[in-house]
């Protein structure tokens, strides 16, 4: 790092006993340093973007006579590695033009905030998104929101697949369509809409139903991540099972989202974690859980689609590194409840790593 500076979102605070709090109040980001002598506080104060790491260490030693050179260097190194510091003299990022940097400026700030890996220029997560190829299956309540979010975030290559046309009853929740689109294929309308949203990315679409595991395997070819937002054919041996097996064979991470009325849930699967079928097998069967009633409003659809998008962004950027192989979500009927399920691989599962 050339000229370290504490990230603005991570600004340090000193507690009464000298302890330094860093990284705000977010779990996964925030940390503290017991600092009775004031070394950390002094070093952080010196890291204002005007000094090299060596200059920070030297200034630290003039302030604390008892510190050896190695000790001062160590204190600085610990802070540089902590994720709370960025480079005020960032390296060049020529893969993004000025317009892209303006468009994604808030994303960069966000990633900087949650990212605890020291970076050269801070655009690394955005470059990962630009290089990513994501297949979105299903463009209904979940898929329309997921596709919008992925396009807005700058995923460089999106392919959209859906068999249906836009109907009036879709418009209470499906964000990409308008009354003028009634009767038109969702795939075509969605692709056109997303190209208007973000002309810097490559969006393609096809009007097609996935009718076999082989269909799905063909569609997956050339993609890094699958966003599965379709629910037909239904389980137990339906599109999620097909996706699980095809993605396991191809080593492709995937995210599946949906809702049952007010209950929203998303699954994240891929190399390094138990497969969908194993996690599902660990969830006790409950009478009445297999229903598929159509009732839904925008919030369920939006939440499930946006959670899918968030998990895809996390897989692509590596932020944040939650090992795959779990379901999570929420129910709108109980603000206290976070739905979460993780179960180990079944012995001998041929689709688990």
């Amino acid at each position: 790092m050339r000229r370290p500076r504490v990230k603005p979102e991570h600004a340090p605070h000193r507690l009464g006993d000298g302890t330094v709090r860093l990284g705000g109040v977010l779990y996964g980001v925030a940390s503290e340093i017991p600092d009775p002598e004031g070394w950390a506080w002094a070093a952080l104060t010196l890291m204002d973007g005007t000094r090299s790491p060596g200059q920070v260490a030297a200034a630290l030693r003039t302030r604390f006579i008892g510190l050896t050179r190695e000790e001062a260097d160590d204190i600085v190194a610990v802070l540089l590695d902590s994720g709370h510091v960025e480079d005020a003299a960032p390296g060049p990022c020529e893969e993004l033009d000025a317009r892209e940097k303006e468009r994604y400026s808030r994303s960069r700030d966000y990633f900087r905030w949650i990212d605890l890996t020291p970076r050269d220029h801070g655009w690394e997560p955005q470059l990962a998104l630009k290089g990513a190829r994501v297949l979105v299956l299903g463009l209904g309540g979940t898929g329309s929101h997921a596709a919008w979010s992925l396009a807005a975030a700058g995923v460089g290559r999106l392919h959209l697949v859906d068999p249906d046309v836009v109907e009036l009853s879709n418009l209470n929740r499906q964000v990409l369509y308008t009354e003028a689109d009634l009767g038109r294929p969702k795939a075509d309308v969605a692709a056109a809409r997303l190209r208007r949203l973000n002309s810097a990315i490559d969006v393609t679409a096809e009007r097609a139903a996935v009718t076999s595991p082989r269909d799905l395997a063909r569609l997956l070819d050339g993609f890094d991540v699958l966003a599965l937002c379709a629910d037909r054919p239904r389980e137990p041996y339906g599109i999620r099972t097909w996706a699980s097996r095809a993605c396991a064979r191809g080593g492709i991470p995937w995210v599946s989202g949906g809702y049952d009325g007010p209950l929203v849930s998303v699954g994240v699967f891929g190399p390094g974690g138990p497969c969908f079928e194993c996690v599902r097998a660990g969830i006790p069967a409950q009478p009445g859980a297999g229903y598929a009633w159509p009732g839904v409003t925008g919030p369920s659809a939006g939440l499930s689609g946006q959670l899918v998008a968030n998990d895809v962004l996390a897989l692509v950027t590596g932020l944040t590194p939650v090992p795959p192989g779990y379901f999570h979500g929420l129910t709108l009927l109980d603000p206290d409840a976070h739905v979460y399920a993780r179960h180990p691989s079944r012995p001998g599962c041929e689709f688990c790593p």
């Binding site: 860093l22 109040v25 779990y27 925030a30 017991p34 950390a40 510190l67 000790e71």
Partner: protein, 41 residues
């Protein structure tokens, strides 16, 4: 029985001065935060 031998004179030095960062746990961090901004632009 084993006992720790007395340090040789050359081992008798002060412990290295260092700082240790500890990531905060779930109960130490905010679970409810009112949005403080960022909605307008």
């Amino acid at each position: 029985m084993s006992s720790t031998p007395a340090p040789e004179p050359w081992q008798e030095r002060k412990p290295r001065k260092k700082i240790v960062i500890r990531r905060l746990g779930k109960t130490e961090t905010a679970t409810v935060v009112q949005p403080s901004g960022g909605n307008s632009n």
